[in-house]
C-alpha cells in the first residue's frame, strides 16, 4: 500500500512537472518565435516601404529579402486561424505561392499599362500580395511613378494584414496557453504542414524530384523566381524550425521534447534539422536545382515530427494481451 502511494505521488509529481515544462516551452515559442517574428515582419515592411518611397532600388531590393525572411518564418508556423477562424485566410491575402493558377505578371503588366486609378486596377487580393510586389520591384523601375505608387499601395495592403496578424496573436495568447494539449497540437500541425510544403513545393518541385516534375528541374517553380529569394525563403523556414526546436536559449519546445521523447526519436528531428541548416549555409539560389540531399534531410525531418506524434500517443505494447478469446 505504502509502495503504491509513493508510486502515485511520484507519478503525479512527474506529470505535473511535465505539464509545467510543456507550458513554459509553449510560452517561449509564442513569445520568442511567433510574436517576435511577426514584429520583425512589420519592421521589415516599414523599411521596405521607406526605401520604395525614397525610390532607392538597391536598398528596396535588399529590404525585400529581409521581408521574405521575416514573413516566411511567420507563414511557416501560422496557426492563428485555428485560434480564431476570422484569421484563417489572412496569409493567403499576403502570399499567393501555390494558391490559384493565375498569371500574375501578365495581369500586373496590363494594370501598369492602363490608365485606371490604382485603387480600382489593383482589385484582386493577389495584385496586392508580396508576390506581386516582388514582380514589380525586380522587373520594373522603382522610380517610375505608376510602378512606385502601385508598390506603395501593395505595401499598404500587406502592412494591414501583418498588423491584423500581430493583433490577432497578441489577443489570442491567453487562449493558446489555456489548453496545453491543444496548443501542442496546433504547433506540431503547423510544423508538419510547413515541413511537407517545404520539402515538396520549395525543394522537390524545383529540383525535379517530385512525382509531378520528375527529371525536369526549373528555378521558375521556386517561390520568388523574379528576385532569386527562393533559397532565402527556404533558409528562413529552416531557421524558424531552429528557433522552435533547437534554439540556443533554454526552455524552447525542443527542450520540452527532450524531456518526453526517447533520445533516438529526438535525434530524428534534431539531426536532419542541423544537417539541413549546414547544407543550406553552403547553397546558392541555383543549387536548388540539385538539392536532393537537402530534400532527403527535410523528408527525414518531416517524418521525425510524425515520430514525435506517434510517440506522444503512447501506444502501449499491449499487443500480447489481445489474445485468448
Amino acid at each position: 500500500m505504502k509502495k503504491s502511494c509513493l508510486l502515485l505521488i511520484l507519478l503525479l509529481t512527474t506529470s505535473l512537472w511535465a505539464e509545467v515544462t510543456n507550458k513554459e516551452a509553449l510560452r517561449h515559442t509564442y513569445e520568442r518565435v511567433v510574436l517576435h517574428n511577426i514584429d520583425t515582419s512589420v519592421t521589415a515592411l516599414h523599411g521596405l516601404e521607406e526605401a520604395i518611397r525614397a525610390k532607392q532600388a538597391a536598398d528596396a531590393k535588399a529590404r525585400f529579402g529581409d521581408l521574405v525572411t521575416a514573413w516566411k518564418k511567420v507563414r511557416a508556423l501560422y496557426f492563428l486561424g485555428e485560434l480564431d477562424p476570422a484569421y484563417l485566410d489572412t496569409p493567403r491575402l499576403i502570399d499567393t505561392f501555390h494558391h490559384g493558377n493565375e498569371d500574375l505578371a501578365d495581369q500586373l503588366d496590363l494594370i501598369l499599362e492602363s490608365d485606371d486609378p490604382l485603387e480600382i486596377a489593383l482589385f484582386k487580393n493577389s495584385h496586392k500580395s508580396i508576390n506581386a510586389l516582388e514582380y514589380l520591384l525586380f522587373t520594373k523601375k522603382v522610380s517610375d511613378p505608376r510602378v512606385n505608387a502601385a508598390m506603395l499601395r501593395i505595401c499598404g495592403a500587406v502592412k494591414t494584414h501583418l498588423f491584423d496578424i500581430q493583433k490577432g496573436y497578441l489577443q489570442n495568447k491567453p487562449l493558446f496557453l489555456q489548453d496545453t494539449n491543444r496548443a501542442n497540437a496546433l504547433l506540431i500541425n503547423a510544423l508538419s504542414e510547413s515541413s511537407y510544403k517545404l520539402k515538396e513545393w520549395r525543394i522537390a518541385d524545383v529540383a525535379g524530384i517530385s512525382d509531378k516534375y520528375e527529371g525536369d528541374p526549373d528555378l521558375r517553380r521556386g517561390e520568388y523566381p523574379h528576385s532569386g529569394n527562393s533559397l532565402q525563403a527556404v533558409k528562413a523556414i529552416v531557421s524558424m524550425y531552429i528557433q522552435v526546436l533547437d534554439s540556443p536559449q533554454e526552455g524552447d519546445f525542443g527542450d520540452y521534447l527532450e524531456s518526453i521523447l526517447a533520445a533516438k526519436n529526438l535525434q530524428r528531428i534534431k539531426t536532419p534539422l542541423q544537417q539541413s541548416h549546414t547544407l543550406l549555409a553552403q547553397m546558392q539560389e541555383r543549387d536548388l536545382l540539385t538539392s536532393r540531399k537537402l530534400y532527403e534531410q527535410l523528408h527525414t525531418l518531416h517524418l521525425g515530427i510524425y515520430v514525435y506524434l506517434i510517440d506522444a500517443l503512447k501506444m502501449q505494447a499491449k499487443i500480447l494481451d489481445a489474445d485468448g478469446d
Binding site: 500541425n189 505494447a317 494481451d321 478469446d325
Partner: protein, 296 residues
C-alpha cells in the same frame, strides 16, 4: 524500480487481470450469485478453482509470461512502425491533407476507430484460427481448457500470441497512420487510467467473466450488439466452436453469420473431445502438441 513481468499483469490497466477488473468481475459475480443461488455450488467450489485444467492454466500463465516477455516481444512488429509507414504511404500517394474538425470530435473518432477496427480484425483472426486447419492446431490449446477461469484468457500458444501481436500492430498502426494523415497532431485517445475508454468500460463490466462459469446473459437485443460472457462461454463449448468469434462486439458475428444468442443454448460442455484432451494435459503438451504431425 523494475517490476517483475508477472506483477505487471495485475497492476497494469492494459492487462485483462488488472486488479480493478478482477474486483469488478468479482462484484458482478457476487451480485449474480445472490440472484441465482442455483449457480453458487458450481462456482464457489474448489472443484472448479483447483480443477486440473484450472491448475494448468495457472502454471501456463506463469510460463507464458516469460515466453512472451523474453522471446516474442523482440520479434513483434511495432504499431508505431506501421503508423509511420502508413502515413508515409498515404502522403506519397495523395500529398498533404488536413481535415479541419473540432479536436474533441477528432479524438472521439480516433478512439472509436481504434476500438472498432481492432475488434473487427480480432473477429477475423479468431475465425481464421478456427477455420484454417494449421491455425486451429495452435488455437486448440486455448480450447483445451475444461473449466474456465480468468487465467484461461492467457492459455494461448506463443504462435497465436505472435499472430495477435501482428494483428494489433497492423490494425492499430494503420488506423493511426490514416488519422495522422487526415488530422495530424489533433489526434489523441480518450482514456481512463491510460486505457482506451471503450476497453476500460468493457473490462470493468466483466470481461473476466467471459472465462468463468457465471452464465451472465445480456437482455434482449443487446446480444446482437455486444458479446455477453455467456455467449463467449457458448463459443467454448465443443458443439459451438464455430459461433461467437467476437471480442466485444457481436455485430461481426451477426453480419458474418456466426452469432449464437444465449437464450437458444442450454447445456454446455467445455474443452475438446475426450480423445483430443489427452494431448493437452501438461505444460509441455500445451507448448509442443501443435507442432506434432498427428495432432488428434
Amino acid at each position: 524500480m523494475e517490476q517483475l513481468p508477472l506483477t505487471e499483469y495485475f497492476i497494469d490497466p492494459n492487462r485483462r487481470l488488472f486488479w480493478l477488473y478482477l474486483l469488478s468481475s468479482f462484484a458482478i459475480s457476487v451480485l449474480y450469485l445472490a440472484l441465482a443461488p442455483k449457480q453458487r455450488r458450481r462456482n464457489a467450489t474448489s472443484k472448479l478453482w483447483l480443477h486440473p485444467s484450472a491448475i494448468l492454466d495457472y502454471k501456463y500463465f506463469f510460463v507464458s509470461v516469460f515466453i512472451k516477455t523474453f522471446m516474442l516481444l523482440p520479434l513483434l512488429l511495432s504499431a508505431q512502425q506501421v503508423s509511420l509507414y502508413s502515413y508515409e504511404l498515404l502522403s506519397s500517394q495523395f500529398g498533404y491533407m488536413r481535415l479541419r474538425l473540432p479536436r474533441e470530435i477528432v479524438i472521439g473518432l480516433y478512439t472509436a476507430a481504434l476500438f472498432i477496427v481492432s475488434d473487427f480484425t480480432r473477429y477475423w483472426l479468431h475465425r481464421l484460427l478456427h477455420t484454417v486447419p494449421v491455425l486451429w492446431r495452435f488455437h486448440k490449446v486455448h480450447h483445451s481448457a475444461k473449466v474456465l477461469t480468468p487465467f484461461t484468457f492467457y492459455r494461448v500458444h506463443p504462435v497465436e500470441n505472435l499472430l495477435f501481436g501482428f494483428r494489433y500492430a497492423l490494425s492499430i498502426g494503420t488506423v493511426t497512420g490514416v488519422f495522422l494523415f487526415l488530422f495530424g497532431a489533433m489526434i489523441d485517445i480518450h482514456t481512463v487510467l491510460g486505457v482506451n475508454i471503450f476497453i476500460f468500460i468493457f473490462s470493468l463490466l466483466g470481461s473476466n467473466l467471459r472465462h468463468s462459469h457465471i452464465p451472465l446473459r445480456y437482455p434482449g437485443f443487446l446480444e446482437y450488439l455486444f458479446i455477453s460472457p455467456r455467449q463467449h462461454q457458448i463459443h467454448h463449448s465443443s458443439s459451438h466452436f464455430d459461433k461467437n468469434y467476437g471480442g466485444y462486439l457481436a455485430i461481426w458475428d451477426l453480419i458474418f453469420g456466426s452469432l449464437q444468442r444465449s437464450l437458444d443454448t442450454k447445456i454446455l460442455r467445455f474443452g475438446l473431445h475426450k480423445t483430443q484432451m489427452r494431448s493437452y494435459t501438461t505444460l509441455r503438451q500445451l507448448l509442443l502438441t501443435p507442432f506434432t504431425r498427428r495432432t488428434p
